[in-house]
């Protein structure tokens, strides 16, 4: 029998299970940090987990595609989990109906404000035209942002990255910023987080309470639709013309 530690290490690095284990470990670390710090924004589990995973891939020189081979199992559950957001929403349905008009008005305001601010700020600060056009749909959930980037002349992969960054900012800063501004109504907190920071923000909102999570899921779903309808219209204006 010959010992082959280098070969064994290579086999571990090449195993699809590594991507899955790394993802789970990084998330557990994020949860532990979040608990220890009493839910500090910088210890938001998804943020910690992404930073740890990215650092590990760079350190071990593992290509993203190899990592994804194993981590895909986790990503695959994202679809059914999005469907599951119907459950908290169903429990809040009477309160949603009662607030329908204020919610719709806030949706249109937030959706248009986010898209135009993204375009204008990026352009003024010297971002490339590709970046500007990829920035426009980023408040929408990632698959919508990818599809819309193409129709307004952006880069789909870049739009996905910007959408994810937006979601992480929302998960990290959303609850504290709203508290700072004395927004205490759970319906408003959830809905604003969902409209501005889609699924990743919603994941954080669910930690606050079932009501905040339900309204956030609603905001995410409605803004996916609104951004998809509004962006082709914005493309007709001088903003993206």
């Amino acid at each position: 029998m010959t010992l082959d530690p280098a070969g064994a290490w290579q086999a571990v690095l090449g195993s699809p299970l590594l991507g899955l284990a790394l993802t789970l470990a990084a998330y557990e670390l994020g949860r532990a940090l979040s608990r220890r710090t009493g839910g500090h924004p910088l210890a938001t589990p998804v943020l910690v987990a992404v930073v740890v995973t990215v650092a590990t891939l760079l350190l071990l020189d593992v290509p993203y595609a190899d990592y994804l081979e194993g981590a895909q199992v986790v990503s695959l559950l994202l679809g059914p989990a999005t469907v599951a957001l119907a459950v908290p929403l169903h429990r809040e349905l009477p309160r949603v109906r009662a607030a329908a008009l204020p919610l719709l008005a806030g949706l249109v305001a937030g959706s248009l404000a986010a898209a135009t601010t993204g375009i204008v700020l990026t352009r003024v600060l010297g971002g490339s035209e590709e970046l500007v056009r990829s920035m426009a749909p980023k408040a929408a959930t990632t698959p919508v942002a990818i599809a819309l980037a193409e129709t307004v002349g952006g880069v789909p992969a870049l739009a996905a990255v910007l959408a994810i960054l937006t979601g992480i900012v929302g998960a990290m800063a959303g609850p504290s910023l709203l508290t700072l501004l004395r927004v205490h109504d759970e319906r408003v907190r959830g809905f604003a987080i969902g409209v501005a920071s889609h699924g990743i923000g919603t994941a954080r909102a669910l930690q606050e309470s079932a009501t905040v999570g339900a309204f956030s899921g609603l905001g995410m779903a409605l803004n996916a639709l609104t951004t998809a309808l509004a962006l082709p219209l914005l493309a007709l204006t001088p903003l993206l013309g």
């Binding site: 987990a49 929403l89 959930t141 994810i164």
Partner: protein, 121 residues
């Protein structure tokens, strides 16, 4: 009582998503399949008469607290764009943070303001 509500619930969620994908693709709607699937499940839950929690509810209550985990692989995709994010860091960070802040505040103030006005009227 069903002894495998989790597995059956997962099946219900998958089926709703697939029906959602089917509807979206057939009609050419601009929303993702899972969002349409969410609407499908909402309709199913609203049509339900039973008092017992459905299998979909059992799974949702276990899955949703860990929704952040499910975004980690996609978020790690950032690793492919580190150089690009570094070279235009200012417009990227300002665009992302600025647009997010304005979107959040616009929604909170309009929805919150209208809700308060409705209560006073």
């Amino acid at each position: 009582m069903d002894r495998a509500p989790v597995l059956r619930g997962l099946l219900v969620l998958c089926a709703c998503q697939l029906v959602g994908e089917l509807v979206v693709r057939t009609l050419g709607l601009p929303v993702p399949g899972p969002v349409a699937g969410m609407l499908v499940l909402l309709v199913l839950l609203s049509a339900r008469r039973s008092e017992r929690p459905s299998s979909a509810e059992v799974v949702a209550d276990r899955l949703l607290p860990h929704l952040q985990l499910l975004f980690v692989p996609a978020g790690t995709g950032l690793v492919q764009y580190l150089s690009l994010l570094g070279s235009s860091a200012l417009p990227v960070v300002a665009g992302v943070v600025g647009a997010w802040t304005v979107g959040l505040l616009a929604t909170a103030f309009v929805t919150g303001g209208l809700l308060r006005r409705g209560r006073r009227a």
